[in-house]
Amino acid sequence: MIATIAWKELKVLFSSPLAWTLLALMQLVFAWIFLGRLDAFLEIQSQLMLIANPPGVTEIIIVPVFAMAAIVLLMITPLLTMRLLAEERRNHTLILLISAPVTITDIILGKFVGLMIFFIGMIALVIGLSITLLVGGTLDFGLLLSNIVGLLLVAACFASLGLYISSLTDNPAIAAAGSLGLLLGLWVVDIVASDMDSFARNFSLLKHYENFNRGMIDTFSIAYFILFIITFLILTIRRLDGERLHG
């Protein structure tokens, strides 16, 4: 059932120009940063030779691309999640899903998985970009893998939060604004608390992502991401269930 709903989400997503436009624009942005970093690397390459233990091509080119990818994802996730439940409600199609012999958990997980498949496709584009560097040398695959895992987890966090906000309203625009606001808030937490070793920093998604970005797979960060995802998925399920009971 989850697969059926995920498949339907993808079909609806790709039948509108939104998904294609986003993919094209993002690829443009990533390629731009990638080429910019590549240029910078080629310029300083001769000086790097002089240092003992110089940073490699992965650190100089790929890491910044992934860092940017997380921020771009933060910006576009609300556009993708706003539809998920708010629009179903507005178009009266949520009734179809709820009347069908599927549980609300199936519906929510289906939507989440559908969006994650889209994100995986998008991340694959970034990976593809990185792999092209193999033409001129070798890569630090450990660092690349840690970046991929981090980006996947952070994308899943964005998706689950967006899904929850979308379940609160029947207006897609409000859902988008709400998710963007909250996601930016979680980012700003990091900036506000950056210089001190404060408790608030632990709540910043991008601070946890930075660890992965540097190639450090921290179990605390993994636990935080997974708890974040599960919390918002459960909140969404409870919200839809509560609607049946109270509203």
């Binding site: 899903l97 709820i98 599927v102 049946r244």
Partner: protein
């Protein structure tokens, strides 16, 4: 009627539903046998849609119990829902899908096996007058055709209980006639609950009629019984529902 004990498909006891202070449905009892078409009549705001939403699992009743084909709805909602086909007031259509894609998705939602889906599609489309519409985007269809897709969606998985909320709204007289023929056809072997404002529709399609007013069932009889007593449905309707119109249901 005595030669067979008709099996009971829908049985709801003492269904109540309130929204905060407002009581939408109070103590509704429904019983429906296989091969029966029940017309649910009532003025706007009488609680017809709320009752139907409870019967399809979109709203949980505040109190009361429901059984669909012998399965307790509150205990095993998933099993019970499998017996039901539901067309809400606004057909739940994905505008960006084609008719075929949409119906296939609904069939999959109802856990139909892959090889039976195509056969079901070929069966349901002619019945709803959608023969050449398979490749059309739902957003490009007229209101009448969208309504037909809505009905097709409710019957594609061959449910035992079909619940239709005002299925002929927005259709032209010819389409109305076709849909009524279809409902009668469906009602021959299944149970159909039909809500409507149109009294002539009830007379044309239903075996039994219940009138709701302010959340209660105020009248229940078979059409045959009505005919026998030579009672006029319209008169009964206006008598029962016109009184204390503005009393409200608080």
């Amino acid at each position: 009627m005595t030669e067979q004990v008709a099996s009971i498909t829908v049985s709801a006891q003492n269904l109540c539903r309130d929204f905060g202070k407002y009581v939408a449905v109070r103590g509704v009892n429904l019983e429906l046998k296989r091969g029966e078409v029940l017309g649910l009549l009532g003025p706007n705001g009488a609680g017809k849609t709320t009752t139907m939403r409870m019967l399809t699992g979109n709203l949980a009743p505040s109190s009361g119990s429901m059984e669909i084909c012998g399965v307790d709805f509150l205990d095993k909602p998933r099993e019970a829902k499998a017996f039901i086909g539901y067309l809400p007031e606004t057909p739940p259509l994905y505008q960006e899908m084609t008719v075929d894609e949409y119906l296939k998705f609904v069939a999959k939602l109802h856990r139909m096996a892959y090889h039976t889906i195509c056969a079901a599609l070929d069966n349901v489309k002619p019945r709803c007058g959608l023969d050449d519409m398979g490749k059309r985007l739902i957003s490009t269809l007229s209101k009448g055709y969208q309504q037909r897709v809505g009905i097709a969606q409710a019957i594609i998985h061959d449910p035992d209980v079909i619940i239709l909320d005002e299925p002929t709204v927005g259709l032209d007289p010819n389409q109305m006639r076709e849909i009524r023929t279809l409902i009668r056809e469906l009602g021959a072997v299944r149970s159909v609950i039909l809500s409507t404002h149109i009294l002539s529709e009830v007379e044309a399609v239903c075996d039994r009629v219940q009138i709701m007013h302010q959340g209660r069932i105020v009248f229940s009889d078979t059409l045959a019984g009505l005919k026998q007593r030579e009672a006029d449905l319209e008169e009964i309707f206006s008598q029962l529902t016109a009184s204390n119109e503005h009393a409200g249901s608080y």
